[in-house]
Structures are given as C-alpha cells and as structure tokens.
Symmetry: C2
Subunit: 202 residues, 2 copies
DNA sequence: GAAAAGATAGTGGTCAATTACTATCTTTAT
DNA sequence: ATAAAGATAGTAATTGACCACTATCTTTTC
C-alpha cells in the first residue's frame, strides 16, 4: 500500500507548494510578470485550480511575503543566537542574510517588487513590517554594542542601521544584475569589514 | 507673435515631453504597470497619438533610459569636476547622485525595474552600460586616491566600489519605501562619513 | 494647400477569475 | 468488510476587462 504518486494534495500542502513555486519563478522572472498560469504550469496544475486554494492573486502574494518574512527572520535570529558580542552578532546576521538570499534569489525580488508598488496592498504591509522589525533588531544591537564599549557612543544609530541594510540590499542588487549568486557569498566578508571599520572608528 | 498655447508640438519636443511624463509617473507607479494610456493621459494626449512618435512601447523605455543615463552621468561629472582630492570628488559624486534622485524619484525606479527584468531588452542593455560606466569611474578614483596616499594600497577596489553603489542604492530604497525624499538628502552626509571611515582606515 | 500632429474607433491577444463538470479520497451504515 | 454518500481536489472551457498597437478620418501649422 504505497503512495507512489499523490496527485491530489491536501489544501495546506498545496498552498505551501504554491508559495514555493512563486519563489522559484521569481528567481528568473520579474515578480510583476508572474501570471497565475505560469505558477500553475510550474507546479503541474491547471490555472483555475489555484483559485480553489486562494481567493485571488493578492492572497497568493500575501502568503509568499509571510513565507519570506518568517524564514528570513528566524534564520537571522538563529545566526545571532548565543553570540555575546553585539558586533559579532551583527556580522553573523549579515552573513546569514546573504546566505539565505543566495539560496532563495526570488525572495528579495518579491520583497523589492512589493515595496516598489504604489498602493498599499496587504502584501506590501507585510513587507513594511519585515523591514521595521529588522531595523529595530539592529538598533538594539547597536545600543548594546555602545554600552559594552564596542562602538563609540556618538555613532548615529539611524545612519548605521540604514547603511547595514543598504549594504545588504546593494550587494543583492549587484548579484541579481550579474546573475552570479556565488559571487555574493564571496564578496560579503570584505564588504562587512569595511562597514565595521566605518562604524567602529571615532 | 506669441506662442501662448501650442497644442501640436513638433516631434522632437513631443518625444521629450513623453520621456518626462514617464519619469513623472514612475515616481508613484511601478514601472511595469505604466500603460501607454496612462502616459498619454498624463500629457493630455490620446493613447494612439503616442505611436506617431515612437514605433512601440519598448522604444519609449529606451528613450527614458537614455535620458536617465545622460542626465545622471553629466550631473555626477560636473560635481566631481575640478576637485583635486579623489576622496573629496567621491563625496561630491555621492551628494550629486542623491540630489539627482531626490529631484527625479522616478529615475532610479525605472533603472531598478529594468535591471530586474529577465530577458535582455535594448533598454536593459542601456541600464547595464550605465552601471558599468559608473563602476569604472569609481575604480579610477580609488586608484588615484591610493597613489596620492589618501587610501591604503591594500584596499579592495571591487569591494569599495560595490559598497559605494550599494550605499546609494540602499539609501534610495529606504527613501522610496518611506516616500520621504527630503530625508534622503539629510541622511546622506552621515552615511558617506561612515563609508569614508571604512575605506580610509588600515 | 500640403505636411505634420492628433482624434476616434477599432483589432487581436493576454490576464485573473468563474463555472460546470469529473476524479479521488474519507466517512459511515449495514 | 464494503458499498453508498459526502467532501475535497482538479479539469477544461469561458468571461469580461484591459492592453499594445493600427487604420482611418480631422485639425493644426507653416
């Protein structure tokens, strides 16, 4: 009594497969150009069947953003876990972020694509929350580093946090443009080294 | 003999107006969602009339990218002109870039939007050329700074150039997200200061 | 008055979403 | 145990909205 090929997946699992299909497609397609037909084709389903599990396309996008936010944040938290030095923790977060993106190139593209949008869709709200959570985490680490004497007290937290995120975003952008994700992991340590010297010095 | 209201513009000028209309719309609309109808409406023209001046939509996008590349590069060249210190020149370029973007928020969105695309359109080729030209300019300045003793010779040019562009891109991204362009010009000096300390220090 | 620029009204194609139907799995009654 | 009944998942065809682009007629400009 073996399940060789399970054609009909339960609803929950089908939704998960859908999200992964979108992330997959986003690695090589502009998110705005991903059609429901393309998603369905990629998971070997008919286009109409998608709407048995999602009320509309926007709901799919929402599910994808939730997936990205959850996976990215837990990945970053885990990386920083148990590291006593805040500066070292920031470096670990940086590397974990880059590693996550190099495994899922579609993830940042969905995020950027959503943030570029004009009107406030539910998916965009999720993207905003992710960025906000990220910034607050960084701000906490910067303050901790200051009270431990690892960073000068006069450092502008806002600027330091913006530059951290900007460095990640910039590196991702360059890699997306060149299409070479391996290069990203290689360049990451050098970039963080420059950033670190910039915030450490008086 | 006064031209109070010239309804029918000559072809050249109409093309310029079209490009400006697209940049204008891109400030508040995802580039991929800008329709020819929206462009025409924004310049108080009927949709079909656009195709008297452009063979197709792709040609419009090409013209826009040319506009962005030309204006941005001349702006940056002018800013660095006559500054003897390469590091000071880089700072001037940084500020000029930020100023340009804050005046034309649609410009970086068109650029990013085009670079995200999968297949190689003519407009995307132009975008690539812009980035390449920019990188080479930076590389030259970094080398000049090294031979003048303003930067340590062991500095990784590739990393420094990536971080420069990344810093600009990251700042732009954050401002696009918050929708506050004034904040960008305010935050720019602090960001460049951190970057500068990062590359100067041994 | 001729050429250039614009208005009007289409065309074919693509997309998200809907509908009517079929297949497959699960539960329940005997 | 097993067949009937109900629930769940998927198919195939269609719909209406919208889009880039075109053909034809009208107005403006020199």
């Amino acid at each position: 009594m073996e399940k060789i090929r399970q054609k009909n997946l339960p609803a929950d699992e089908r939704r998960n497969v859908t999200v992964e299909a979108v992330i997959d497609l986003a690695a090589s397609t502009n998110p705005g150009d991903i059609t429901t037909a393309a998603i369905a084709r990629h998971m070997k389903l008919t286009q109409g069947a998608l709407f048995r599990h999602f009320p509309n396309k926007e709901a799919i996008w929402q599910a994808v953003m939730r997936w990205v936010a959850e996976r990215l944040m837990t990945r970053i938290e885990k990386a920083a876990e148990g590291i006593e030095s805040p500066l070292e923790a920031m470096q670990a977060m940086f590397m974990a972020h880059i590693a996550f993106v190099s495994e899922h190139p579609g993830a940042p593209r969905m995020l950027f694509g959503e943030l570029q949008g004009a009107k406030p869709t539910p998916a965009k709200r999720l993207a905003h929350e992710l960025i906000k959570q990220y910034s607050e985490r960084l701000n906490g680490l910067l303050n901790a580093a200051k009270s431990r004497g690892e960073l000068p007290p006069e450092l502008d937290n806002q600027a330091a946090a913006t530059l951290f995120i900007g460095t990640v975003q910039g590196l991702i952008m360059q890699s997306l443009i060149s299409g070479d994700m391996a290069q990203m992991r290689q360049a990451a340590p050098g970039l963080f080294a420059i950033y670190r010297r910039g915030i450490v010095h008086p």
